[in-house]
């Protein structure tokens, strides 16, 4: 029995396959990194817009957030791929950014709202303008609170890149499917080993990401909001 498993390992762990999976992994990380960065920027802007007194800005942001948050990511990925001129990786980034920005916006808004009103009052009593209050008092505190939910969300973003496989983008999930269909992968043990390896890769990446992001401030609180 063991020789079948040993054979499976030798079949999966060939340079060609590992290299191919590696390319997939690099694409996954690329898509995730750019999407996370962009959605942080847009999401924060949206979250701030949502909180302003200005009715126009608020409505625009709210409509965008509510619509995007309630539609599956897969729909955005397919739509972006088929209706825009963007190359495969970039259309995946666009879809992920549009989708994740809405979620980041909500997290930012939640963070801003959780700051005690007293902070605002104290700041104004000290002569701070609205912008100054936001910049020096509110946002730093809010940033600390939303750390955890943000990390949790970005771990999800890394996982969400796997949806791009549906439209033939060469990230890790798609490359692993191609390997699974390759003529050298035949027995049940082969496929099991392959998929355990792929799941493990995602697991390690996500855990490392979360660990590194949390260690920067020594914050051990686990997030609850997705």
């Amino acid at each position: 029995m063991f020789d079948r498993w040993a054979n499976a390992f030798s079949v999966v762990f060939t340079p060609k396959i590992l290299l191919f999976l590696g390319q997939g992994l690099l694409n996954t990380l690329y898509i995730a990194a750019v999407s996370i960065t962009l959605s942080l920027i847009f999401g924060t802007i949206l979250g701030l817009m949502r909180n302003r007194k200005d009715k126009v800005l608020r409505t625009v942001a709210t409509v965008y957030i509510e619509i995007v948050r309630n539609i599956p990511l897969l729909l955005f990925i397919i739509a972006m791929r088929f209706m825009t001129r963007l190359p495969p990786l970039e259309s995946g980034i666009a879809a992920l950014t549009v989708f994740t920005s809405a979620i980041v916006a909500e997290i930012v808004r939640g963070g801003l709202n959780s700051i005690d009103k007293g902070q605002w009052e104290a700041a104004t009593s000290q002569g701070f303008s609205t912008v100054q209050t936001m910049w020096y008092i509110i946002i730093p505190q809010a940033m600390r609170r939303i750390r955890s939910p943000l990390i949790s969300q970005f771990v999800t973003t890394i996982k969400d890149t796997s949806f791009c496989a549906v439209v033939g983008t060469y990230e890790l999930s798609f490359t692993s499917k191609i390997v699974a269909a390759h003529r050298t992968i035949v027995t049940a043990e082969d496929i099991i080993v392959l998929y355990l390896v792929v799941a493990l890769i995602y697991y390690v990446i996500n855990r490392s990401f979360a660990a590194i992001a949390r260690r920067e401030r020594g914050d051990a609180m686990k997030g609850v909001v997705r």
């Binding site: 309630n70 599956p72 729909l75 771990v155 549906v166 995602y202």
Partner: protein
């Protein structure tokens, strides 16, 4: 053929609406069942996490860790194509419900656990002093308060679950996204398909989101 959003394309979509209706219903069905099992898993694991038994805690954390850090797509693919090799052949709907429940349940457990922990410890002591047993305290005093705390993030997970049901499109699951994919592929009509599919998902998810928002506002007021 004039553009993806031509009148002809819209007419074509609406003439086949019954196909999408069946996908819509299946999405509802799978989501509902998935939600029920998610709640069960979330409650069980979340409460177990409050205990002290080291092995149980490790198992729960391991479960949550694995399912929160691997993609749902890979999980579903394993259920669909790898399990049969081990002799376990499950139907597509079963896989859908199970996959969604196991995945979302990991997050639900976190929410349940945090919500219970957020109830002031004084409550448990007060209940004991009134003669409630542990189980009675949980049921009558702690859990109701925990539910109020945990409901908003839980509805968030519910919406996520409904959105994630779209993953079944990859394994010929017959739900809404699969129908959208299949129909747009056969008819080469993309514009109206994607817009209407989005609208249909909004119809299911938006009410829940808005409900959650209203609950959040109310709970803030009551604090």
């Amino acid at each position: 053929m004039s553009g993806p959003f031509s009148l002809h394309n819209w007419e074509a979509w609406f003439s086949d609406w019954s196909f999408f209706a069946s996908g819509f219903l299946r999405t509802l069905y799978i989501s509902l069942l998935g939600l029920i099992f998610t709640l069960i898993i979330g409650l069980v694991v979340g409460i177990l996490l409050c205990g002290k038994h080291k092995v149980v805690l490790a198992l729960c954390r391991g479960y949550m860790s694995f399912f929160q850090n691997t993609p749902l797509v890979i999980q579903v693919f394993i259920y669909y194509n790898v399990l049969p090799k081990l002799g376990i052949r499950l139907g597509v709907i079963v896989i859908g419900v199970m996959g969604l429940a196991l995945y979302t349940g990991a997050y639900a457990a976190d929410i349940v656990h945090s919500a219970i922990k957020a109830v002031p410890t004084g409550q448990l002591e007060a209940a004991h002093s009134q003669g409630f047993s542990y189980l009675q305290s949980m049921w009558h005093v702690i859990l109701p308060q925990a539910v109020k705390i945990g409901l908003p993030p839980m509805t968030n997970q519910a919406v996520n679950l409904i959105k994630n049901s779209s993953v079944l499109a990859v394994i010929a699951g017959g739900e809404l996204m699969y129908c959208a994919d299949s129909w747009s592929g056969s008819n080469l009509i993309y514009g109206p398909t994607f817009v209407m599919t989005g609208v249909l998902y909004l119809v299911i998810c938006l009410p829940i989101s808005l409900l959650a928002r209203r609950m959040e506002k109310r709970s803030v007021r009551n604090v």
